[in-house]
């Protein structure tokens, strides 16, 4: 049973911390701009007289790049999420409260998901608005009728969720923010491979294929939640070692300590 008050507290705290973390703010601002410049320039540079093959190639490329935003922005944020607590020394006090690991991870995931998809859809929206306003009419029409456009809009939250869980899993395992961020960005890439095949029409995009891929990603995202929760072991996070429960292992080396007579436990 998930306690919504505790999960909500984590969401509020995380959002407040993100707003005041310059690294996160700069990453969440700069990455979309970077991934917007190239596709926008590519589309605006093409003229109405361009061949349909060239037009199709440019549209594929331009629709693909903004999909990096829902992967890289949450990957960066989630990588900081747990390791940032370790670095600040806040993880131990946090883990001594009644919050469960699922509540904690869910709160952190939602707190990353909300700004990540906002930024991603905003990036996509700005790109499409620029195309509608400034591109030549045939180019804009080709863009709006691209078969992969609806699928890619659907993929944004699913890709963001993937990047979040991968980032949280890595953040739970490593002890340095920079290492976590690098590994998280790498870990967010696998679904991109399949999406690039769809985007560049190596695999012919169809509604059925896109839906199947989206469904698969949704199942993986849900399973990842439980997988990451299992990885999030309090003892390993606090001590850096795996828990071991064996009475045999507890046998002390004999003769190393002198027992003193006054040892008496009762008060």
């Amino acid at each position: 049973m998930i306690n919504t008050t505790r999960t909500g507290a984590v969401i509020r705290k995380e959002l407040a911390e993100f707003r005041r973390n310059r690294l996160i703010v700069v990453t969440a601002t700069l990455l979309p701009v970077v991934f917007l410049i190239s596709p926008t320039a590519s589309i605006l540079a093409i003229h109405a007289s361009a061949s349909s093959a060239l037009l199709s190639k440019r549209v594929d490329y331009s629709l693909f790049l903004p999909l990096l935003v829902p992967l890289f922005v949450p990957a960066t944020m989630s990588a900081y999420s747990v390791v940032g607590e370790k670095e600040q020394g806040t993880l131990e006090p946090l883990l001594t409260t009644p919050i469960t690991r699922v509540e904690l991870l869910l709160g952190k995931a939602v707190a990353i998901f909300l700004p990540a998809i906002t930024v991603s859809y905003l990036t996509f929206g700005v790109f499409l608005a620029i195309v509608a306003l400034f591109a030549d009419a045939p180019v804009a029409t080709a863009m709006w009728h691209a078969p992969q456009l609806p699928a890619e809009v659907l993929f944004i939250p699913l890709l963001a969720a993937w990047a979040i869980w991968i980032g949280l899993a890595i953040s739970s395992k490593v002890s340095e923010t920079r290492v976590a961020q690098q590994l998280s960005v790498l870990g967010s890439l696998p679904p991109l491979a399949l999406i690039s095949l769809l985007s560049f029409q190596v695999i012919t995009p169809s509604f059925g294929l896109a839906a199947a891929f989206a469904g698969g990603l949704l199942v993986i995202d849900c399973a990842a939640c439980f997988f990451v929760a299992r990885l999030f072991d309090r003892e390993r996070l606090v001590t850096g070692t795996r828990p071991r429960r064996s009475a045999a292992a507890a046998v002390a080396a004999p003769g190393t300590v002198r027992r003193l007579p006054p040892v008496s436990g009762t008060s």
Binding site: K13, G89, E92, L95, R234, V238, T241, A252, P262, S264
Partner: protein, 330 residues
């Protein structure tokens, strides 16, 4: 296991890989007691606190905290009733002091959060810094804020793990004053520290730990158990025949020359340089009963007595005796 005590620990052992951090430790802490847990670095103090705070599981043995046996099913209930202040303040530097406390108040599901936060900040004298970012506070203020956070849920048992570590004497004094105040609130305090003077001043009982439990008791009990009772005597000049003076006293079981500070000096001749003041350490069973007879004997021997009094061993002496016994002499 009875549920009357605040903490009951029975044969607790924790092994990390091939290293035994805590070995077969048993003790009980009464409700409302301030209990000191002492030991050198790596003695297993923090591991014990983490086990009792439900952060890590013991390899073997059992324990009950706030009357609730440790176990995966009871972790949440125990956490609701305890709080842990670690050596590092563990505050979110980008949040204000009040925001930090409000966050934890929400995690504990406390009603009347604002009032609770204000009360906790009042208790540590930090209401005027409530809106400051924690990152801007000094280490002493951060530790006070950390204590305020620990007070939020009105815990039955508070674990304070090295709360004064790294603080300057003034800040440490302030924090210890706050810990002392917890006794008046009826909170059971489990204090781990390296500072033996503060343990002696604050704690009802202390346990000395070095992987296994070395000893436990009140500081006075430990002194009596580990050290024979003695009287230190200082005279204006060395006695001509100290053996004749002391050996004839039935209350004196033995004597030896001593340094002017009262410590034994077995290699010294007659307890002082020629013509200068001299000191002697006399082993007795009951210092109060023996002192008048010793004084009379000294006066009869023509000695000018500068001082006479029972030798006081500090908790540090007890600690060093126990720790060195393992580390230095074994």
């Amino acid at each position: 296991m009875s549920t009357q005590a605040a903490i009951e620990v029975s044969h607790l052992t924790k092994v990390f890989g091939t290293r035994t951090a805590v070995r077969d430790v048993s003790f009980t802490v009464a409700r409302g007691e301030v209990f000191g847990f002492l030991g050198p670095n790596g003695a297993g103090k923090t591991t014990t606190v983490r086990i009792l705070g439900t952060l890590i599981a013991p390899t073997s043995g059992s324990a009950a905290v706030a009357g609730i046996p440790l176990g995966s099913a009871s972790e949440e209930e125990i956490r609701q009733r305890i709080s842990i202040t670690t050596e590092a303040p563990g505050l979110y530097n980008r949040l204000t002091v009040a925001e930090n406390l409000e966050f934890f108040a929400r995690l504990y599901g406390l009603p009347g959060r604002e009032a609770r936060v204000y009360e906790a900040l009042s208790a540590v004298g930090l209401t005027n810094r409530a809106d400051d970012l924690c990152g801007s506070l000094s280490k002493g203020l951060k530790q006070r804020a950390s204590l305020a956070r620990s007070l939020l849920n009105e815990p039955e048992v508070m674990f304070l793990d090295e709360p004064t570590s790294g603080l300057d004497p003034a800040a440490a004094h302030e924090v210890l004053g706050l810990v002392s105040g917890l006794r008046e609130r009826g909170v059971t305090v489990f204090l781990t520290t390296h500072r033996l003077d503060e343990a002696e001043r604050l704690c009802d009982r202390v346990a000395i730990m070095n992987t296994s439990l070395r000893t436990i008791g009140t500081p006075e009990e430990l002194r009596r158990t580990l050290f024979s009772r003695s009287i230190a005597v200082a005279t204006a000049a060395p006695l001509h025949q100290p053996d004749k003076v002391f050996d004839g006293l039935p209350s004196v079981q033995g004597w030896q020359p001593a340094d002017p500070d009262g410590g034994p000096r077995p290699d010294a001749g007659l307890g002082g340089g020629p013509g200068g003041p001299a000191s002697y350490l006399l082993m007795v069973t009951d210092p109060a009963a023996a002192a008048p007879g010793i004084t009379r004997a000294l006066v009869a021997a023509g000695a000018d007595v500068l001082s006479i009094g029972e030798t006081r061993h500090s908790l540090e002496d007890v600690y060093l005796e126990l720790i060195e016994d393992k580390e230095g002499r074994s």
